[in-house]
Symmetry: C2
Subunit: 202 residues, 2 copies
């Protein structure tokens, strides 16, 4: 049941605005709003200002479509990055996760989603046109498709492989299997099946 | 692992501020921040402004300690309310839940917590002094302790009963048992035990 925004009640108004955030239901929104009412004033002001400011401050990098505050992001500008490697990702969080691992020094491309026909997301909804434009101009030799190893992520990887291979670029997929440090005993059937079929020589 | 607020990166800065909200971890904060980056600008501005404004706009009712925008809340001011009945609650959300049920027409008193010695919350941390002040002045005949039926809520109710009965006021506790519409089969042991011990004649 959605209720109209009541401008006369600031608490209800804030709670209603908070319910539009992903993963925040009516009860959580009310709890957050009441927390903010009682929280340290300086913190609440800083949070409000940071939210108000976020919209104008960030945009998509004109090269890799990652979120950044400049025309071109720091990774695309970095001359030490290996421009022959391009890692394709579904969302900015995934780029941050790979950067944290600290083992990849190539470039990135953020699709902003994965193919999901049931949700109405086709190739036109993803940043694939921008990816093709880069391949024409850049010296990319290998594209590593690092979408998540689930139905949509795999479908997106297959789609990209078909689209990109004719352009003479090598297309690879991140490895998938039992997580490092994980217990075989607790791995799910799909992961075990993938770990077996993708086995490699020692 | 908490990271310092990076003023140079507005996205990271917003995410760090969001992690201070209750129930929002690092991953959720980042997801919310990225949602706000891409969300409708008008909505984001409204949310930021509503948060910045909430701190000054609301305070505690000087009578019942509920959250309101005036010196005295609309329920305490309402002459149609039954001033002989006073419902004692742990938090403002509980008052809203009871109001939604639409069957109670007495007054309220919000404690802002329950007794929880392990968390360092004793009687001095709750709005009990304000409750005693009301009893001296008002025409209250019955106090319904409507804290949640768990260890802390029950302990708070017992404490209040001992404190208030000598003042000549009737102290009652909300009923506890199997939820209306619920299945006996799925009720937990404590609830079933309470439902049996608190059985009433038909």
């Amino acid at each position: 049941m959605s209720r109209p925004v009541d401008a006369k009640n600031p608490l209800q108004r804030l709670a209603t605005l908070l319910t539009r955030l992903p993963g925040i239901g009516e009860k959580s929104a009310l709890r957050l709003a009441l927390f903010l009412v009682r929280a340290d004033g300086e913190y609440v002001q800083a949070l409000g200002a940071a939210i108000s400011a976020i919209h104008g401050q960030l945009r998509l990098c004109s090269v890799c479509c990652d979120i950044c505050s400049d025309e071109v992001c720091e990774r695309c500008r970095d001359p030490r990055r290996d421009r022959r490697l391009l890692c394709v990702l579904a969302q900015p969080q995934d780029r941050m996760a790979i950067e944290r691992a600290g083992v990849y020094h190539g470039l990135y491309h953020v699709l902003h989603g994965v193919l999901d026909p049931l949700a109405g997301i086709g190739p036109g909804e993803l940043r694939i046109e921008e990816l093709l434009r880069r391949l024409r101009a850049d010296e990319v030799e290998e594209i590593i498709v690092a979408t998540s190893p689930n139905v949509e992520g795999d479908a997106t990887a297959l789609y990209l492989a078909k689209l990109l291979r004719p352009l003479g670029v090598r297309v690879t997929r991140i490895a998938s299997g039992v997580a490092v440090g994980g217990e075989l005993e607790y791995a799910d059937m799909s992961t075990l099946s993938r770990a077996l079929s993708d086995r490699r020589a020692l």
